[in-house]
Symmetry: C2
Subunit: 341 residues, 2 copies
DNA sequence: AAACAAGATGATAGCGCTATCATTGTCAAT
DNA sequence: ATTGACAATGATAGCGCTATCATCTTGTTT
């Protein structure tokens, strides 16, 4: 009777025994093959295959004080914007040995701090966090952590470590300037889920209109509700009812823009003649819509990829020269704002 | 000079020393408080707070042979359908101590097997996998694993362990019958990303039309491309060009349906008069569209929640009575198929 | 031939936790 | 008073891996 636990798992020692070398040599053959003669490496790999050995990540983490985990904290798993970023992250990570651990802060600072705590207790290889508006506590945690960190989605001064994003404020300003250039005069703003990025877009909208001497806060509608297409319809109708002179609207994101478009169709409001509509993010459907919808193209997938690439390079000791990358944006003008076109 | 490694981390022993008890007692106070006197528990918790102790999951995993990880394998992180399911999963998991580890198989069997292998090496507390069409190797892995397993998205005979989903075939059949009942006669099908679930929907479509004596394979268009709104427009136009007598179309999913709607608008095809359109999944935007689009409502979020709940209960030893849950579906009739209504 | 560097391998000792069994103290039953 | 049952706590020994230092080959240098 063996009273000791034992998991029944094939271990390094099993491989070592069968290959006729010591366990530590097997470890080296698998992790640092160039420290071991090439025929030993070959023999070890053969035995690994025969026995179906799979390393135990927990044991490795405990012994070496490090893991292959890249912790990613985003505020929403549902939002299209983040799922595009995730796609970029997975695309980049999948050809490496790193694993992604996803945390969902649900737009809550408390939740974010808790997640950070949990992640850090796992000694992650790297951390990725969305936004630049961490709470003080979260910021301290991030600064004290010993692994590389990338902030994504935005650019800003004073990165914790690295940063990949673009300026939401500039993007919204440019989009608003586009509406002005198209000859629209009373340009509204509708925004849902007012997170810090959305707030900065609203600022950019304000910048452009103030510069043109046309800012009117009665044309702005925001809500904390989660943004949906239906909500876009409702908000547009509400704004239009309150301000019948409204002749264009900058939407906080594409869902709202699509909702606004449908509302117009339903009410017989001509787009772009009677009302111009501009979205934000340029989801794929914007081009397909009828009329097609002007939007601000942002490189979401690329953002995930670049951030992951930088993180992995930093983990492996090659700190990139440029630690803050601005991926920019582009206003894609389409039918929905083609008043003079 | 201490040559031993040491991570600088606060450990159980530090807490034990300060609280004046043995490490194992601290462990018990935290994991099984009812095995320890209540004042010791209180004292330990106090010290944990003062020292900021956070348990090391790797050490725990190694010593106890188990983790709090729930492995989830889905084919796509971008697809709206899965992100709704994910939302349900996270909603359920976030109030527990389990963690989700997400794996993205990208619709590849190889990838799925690899992920399964990786997950299993981590001794997960439970596994969730989408679909019922695992490869033989994956099936063997799942059957040999010692933790509970839930298959989601579909129902079918012969679950590995537990199952939560609905019948895609029945759903598509019912949707097709709805089109027939609305008086449509030449009903087409457009489908992208032909995964097993999509294939079963196509079968359901065929079932209904064959039963009505109206099946015509020339009315079916499928592609392996990933589905997008733009693709929906293209496929509809192509099908309509090839078969001008087409008077309704069942779309494999809502993106395609939306694309089809936009294409009709662009071509001046009247919906629902000249063409009926039915989607699948009932994404939120279907109700907001103009005309609103008929679709098959599926309980994606609930599916994630139920599956996670069942998994956690099984992990904790309470095997649910019902191991295969059919969540059903509902055809939501809207304007896009209201030819007689 | 002696001395040494570099390369390959091994022995040892943990990483931070928990399973297991052993010990102690307490109280009711005999 | 003696016994046993039970509750609370502790001592010990790993879980499967790798960091560290030690040893043993080689080939190279003078």
């Amino acid at each position: 009777m063996n009273k000791r636990r034992k998991s029944g798992r094939v271990t390094l020692s099993d491989v070592a025994r069968k290959a006729g070398v010591s366990p530590i040599t097997v470890s080296r053959a698998l992790r640092n093959p160039d420290m071991v003669s090439s025929d030993v490496v070959k023999r070890v790999q053969q035995v690994v295959g025969e026995l179906g050995y799979v390393p135990d990540p927990a044991a490795r983490a405990l012994a070496s004080q490090r893991t292959d985990v890249i912790g990613v904290i985003i505020p929403s798993v549902t939002n299209n914007v983040f799922s595009d970023v995730m796609r970029g992250i997975y695309a980049c990570v999948e050809e490496t040995n790193y694993r992604v651990q996803l945390g969902n802060s649900r737009y809550s600072e408390r939740e974010e701090e808790k997640l950070l705590q949990t992640f850090i207790s796992q000694r992650p290889a790297g951390l990725m966090i969305s936004g630049i508006d961490q709470s003080h506590a979260a910021r301290l945690l991030l600064e004290s952590v010993s692994c590389p960190v990338v902030q994504i989605m935005e650019t800003g001064p004073d990165p914790v470590d690295m940063m990949v994003g673009f300026s939401h404020r500039d993007a919204a300003r440019t989009a608003t300037e586009h509406l002005i250039a198209q000859g629209y005069e009373r340009i509204g703003f509708i925004g849902a889920r007012m997170d810090p990025r959305t707030a900065r877009r609203l600022e950019g909208y304000g910048d452009a209109l103030r510069a043109a001497g046309r800012y009117d806060k009665g044309l702005v509608r925001t809500t904390r509700q989660r943004s949906t297409v239906t909500l876009g319809s409702e908000m547009l109708l509400e704004l239009k009812a309150a301000r019948p002179d409204l002749d264009a609207v900058l939407c906080n994101n594409d869902d709202l823009a699509l909702g606004a478009l449908f509302a117009c169709r339903r009410q017989g409001i001509d787009v772009p003649g009677e009302l111009g509509i501009c979205g934000f993010n340029d989801l794929e459907m914007m081009a397909a819509a009828c009329p097609s919808i002007t939007s601000v193209r942002t490189c979401r997938e690329e953002m995930g990829e670049r951030a992951t690439g930088m993180l992995i390079r930093a983990i492996e000791g090659e700190r990139p020269a440029e630690t803050a990358v601005d991926l920019g944006f582009e206003v894609i003008a389409r039918e929905s704002t083609a008043r003079r076109g």
